[in-house]
Subunit: 433 residues, 3 copies
Amino acid sequence: MERAKDNFEKEGKEIYKLIERLYPICRSITGDGVRETLDIIKKIIPIDIKEVPTGTKVFDWTVPREWNIKDAYIKNSKGEKIVDFKKTNLHVLNYSIPINKKMNLKELKQHLFTIPKHPDWIPYRTTYYKENWGFCLTHNQFKKLKEDTYHVVIDSTLEKGHLSYGELYLKGKNKDEVLISTYLCHPSLCNDNLSGVGLTVYVALLLKQMDLKYSYRFLFIPETIGSITWLSRNEDKIPNIKHGLVVTCVGDRGDLTYKKSRKGNAAIDIIVEKVLTDSGDKYRTIDFFPLGSDERQYSSPGFDLPVGSLMRSFYYDYPEYHTSADNLEFMSSKHLGDSLKKYIRVINIIEGNETYINLNPKCEPQLGKRGIYDMIGGEKTVDLTAAVLWILNLSDGNNSLLDISIRSKMNFEQIKNAADILISKKLIIPKDG
Amino acid sequence: MERAKDNFEKEGKEIYKLIERLYPICRSITGDGVRETLDIIKKIIPIDIKEVPTGTKVFDWTVPREWNIKDAYIKNSKGEKIVDFKKTNLHVLNYSIPINKKMNLKELKQHLFTIPKHPDWIPYRTTYYKENWGFCLTHNQFKKLKEDTYHVVIDSTLEKGHLSYGELYLKGKNKDEVLISTYLCHPSLCNDNLSGVGLTVYVALLLKQMDLKYSYRFLFIPETIGSITWLSRNEDKIPNIKHGLVVTCVGDRGDLTYKKSRKGNAAIDIIVEKVLTDSGDKYRTIDFFPLGSDERQYSSPGFDLPVGSLMRSFYYDYPEYHTSADNLEFMSSKHLGDSLKKYIRVINIIEGNETYINLNPKCEPQLGKRGIYDMIGGEKTVDLTAAVLWILNLSDGNNSLLDISIRSKMNFEQIKNAADILISKKLIIPKDG
Amino acid sequence: MERAKDNFEKEGKEIYKLIERLYPICRSITGDGVRETLDIIKKIIPIDIKEVPTGTKVFDWTVPREWNIKDAYIKNSKGEKIVDFKKTNLHVLNYSIPINKKMNLKELKQHLFTIPKHPDWIPYRTTYYKENWGFCLTHNQFKKLKEDTYHVVIDSTLEKGHLSYGELYLKGKNKDEVLISTYLCHPSLCNDNLSGVGLTVYVALLLKQMDLKYSYRFLFIPETIGSITWLSRNEDKIPNIKHGLVVTCVGDRGDLTYKKSRKGNAAIDIIVEKVLTDSGDKYRTIDFFPLGSDERQYSSPGFDLPVGSLMRSFYYDYPEYHTSADNLEFMSSKHLGDSLKKYIRVINIIEGNETYINLNPKCEPQLGKRGIYDMIGGEKTVDLTAAVLWILNLSDGNNSLLDISIRSKMNFEQIKNAADILISKKLIIPKDG
């Protein structure tokens, strides 16, 4: 894919625009906000939208009721809306039960959430599996509250309905597949995780135009319950999954971070780290741990899928995480484009890696007579010659191009290009026919 | 064992008192000093006292004659005792043959040992396997010696008798056993190794009150010849030994030092290092080497037992080693207590480690409905949740709680406590029934 | 070989003298220069000189025509020789076709090679596999060239003939063999590689006087085509080769550098690194890469021989490489001797390494009664005791003396000496009879 060399600036800007459009929608793990988001995605890539009924058993869990909300506010005794869902959906404790009640400050305070350390930010909080209601507000707002009679209204519904998710399957030459999973249950938060949604859309869009060796499956799901639901309904497909990535927090200005798969040395781990090393950019890797996002489910011991997660700033490290400060300004289209580039490079290795056999294994073949390099000897050998000699030397059937690029410390693309020359000169052939 | 969390201050003081009582006794590899020491131990824990006759073949060695001593001194021509065994038994070259002879300074000097670098300290020297006699004195004493006729008396006996040692076997549920070995042949030296004797007594005393999974064998032996003798008489028991520690130098104020087993990565090595890491205290590890104490014999290639040695200051590193400066002041009851704590924690892991199977291996079980954690989402997960998720994720039958605590970098006790909760919720069961 | 302890100063001087004699000869991959060089070597060690006819197929290659040269120069229009082969053979592009032609400066310049960065040095350049002619000169000479009519003469021949190389086989007790390969195709260059030729001659000379366990094969060949030719004619011998070294650049004043074999952890890699560690000298190791010298061919995937290369300064790192500055002054006899010492120590380990069995595997044997160490106990153990105990402890059949010397961090020679004592005391015997 020749695109791998540019910086995907155009796509970065398009992803940013998509995020701007998705930002105001109030999403949760179920409900119309998710459906509206999926409909917008479907206009760009041909996802299937799946609806799983409330009450469906999914392993140890049950698909929950559908949550929808029209309005919510707190009024003081003067009738002034002092907290208003219409200003930002983060003001409501996500998945709150309906309420319409007057109460004093003491009672109200038991349902208010703030971040004292960042008094201008609104926290993002949820109550999925425990019936409750509440409001999230800035600590500055909170400090101004006086003794009063407050009128609290949450005009939400919790009813039988469906859990909605999107799925796109791109069929490649092989049934072996790559899982690209992202979550769309968060309301007005950008980096976590509209950035992941947007980037995944564009990975799919680019791959749709390619002849693919692997098949690719893209999931747009609510976090945790979505991956559990998908896994419970698709156990037959699980053996096909050879590599996977959870896409999250890919839009901020931080360096890239790779959270390894549970195995720690799966092919995906080696590939992503090679992409990051080749890039020359600063990056860090984090060993797998069983908190985080949907890799928790993909990596549960009954599946143990090789699924990592490639992000920019590590979610537990940046203070804006799960607050109103994770907004459009927190991201940049340039960094979205750069993240996309890294994902595409990962896919380029997945697609382009192969093991070859040197057809002249005894001593080097005479490259000069085949016009491969400058035949004036005695000069320092250039990179292409080095790449050619590395491939010839290591193509004994035990080393893939990726292995060779790692051992030689050369970029995968340099090795891949040299391999293409050697194939054309009939000096190497694929191990598997 | 809930005691693991305190600092064993009370026991530290009791060990110190026991050492004070044992300190003046003149011990050697055989003789009444050893018997007197064993008799005092027997008043605290029910050891068996074994007597092995002189001349018994023990592998390549022979049980030596019994050495006993009543008195020893050097008198000058004025009849003044210038070196006197009654002041400290270190003055006599341990295992000296009897002598009663007048001689000039030149002859005498061939039998005197000092430490020029520490002119106030008396060295501790022995002559077990070569007939000789001698006196150890401070270098300051030595420098004052003038030409004179000296009367040298060592009123010792070397006669057929027995080699004495103590043994205590605590039977646990399994016949697999843990060997705790310490040596008691040194005379008036504290850290090396009355500290080891005292600590071992108290480990035994604490374990005697517990329901044990493993069986424990405590040995109080003379160094080298004692372990050789025990091994030669107990070859049938050797296959049962799964873990072992040689207890030495555990009373000084230095940081803990762990000398690994010959294997280097035996379970005992991993367990001790985990205890030390969990403690947060400074420590160091030393790879096995075939010098040192009785681990030399336990680790000989015909046995290769997984026996390490957990001490405080490494014996070859502190200048007081094998000198009169290794006295009561050189130790502290606080550090004896701390050493005991570490030994008990090692035993807590040996006893508490187990491999479990997650009964819900496909995706996470829904912890919320089981009341395991606060159901308000969105907050940073606390340690208990992390421990629970680590156990669930890794309990695929390949990882023990110890493995999990190491991979998660959590304390073994945190993991063990979380496992107990999961057992009670029927989410995990022991792998072996 | 007791010689291992000296610094081989005498041999260093003799090697230097041999290089002085070989320096002026104009060598190439074929021709009389190679023959003259081999004839001089044959006066010191009894090599066989092999002649392989032009046109012989050797794997993917063909033995080239023989190149010989009588004279070469560039004359200006005044008839002055401004570049003269008689001053140094580096002036001619090695393997140039004959030419006798007048031309202007522009045409001439297409055949001139210089080093702008080092304007006083003449580069060394070749044109083995592409018909061409040319001259190499200093950049200062080049800058003085003015528009003129130049008379260019290269009185060379390229005719059917032979490729010549030298081979010496020293038969040891085993048919397992050690390959020591060096190349002699370079003309007036010293470190690269008359130093290698000279050192190899003296390794062979010293080994010829020894009773050898391994057989040794010494090759004096033109680089690349020589090793390809030898391999293609000797495939039956390849399975015998257990260790190998390519000897190059061993005369300069730099620290030693070891380029590892393709396997990276072959016995030769471990042995050479142990020799370098034991020496206490600064050194560095370089992982295998498929450029460099004849190890490229020995390590091709069809052979994958365990062949490393022990040199001083790494050839790609020093600016004098492949220039007229790689002359006699660039080397020192002291460093040639030191390199020889290291090669001999490598051979001492190859010859002296053995796995033994401790005949008293249960506990230590009683060393005192066998007179092995000072029987006064209590002192710090000296090195010999440590070596003895390490050997006894690890001689369970799984550890060679080399393994023991590495694990104990003791010099191989200390361990070897201690092993000889234990053999004499019948405490250990060779594993293989």
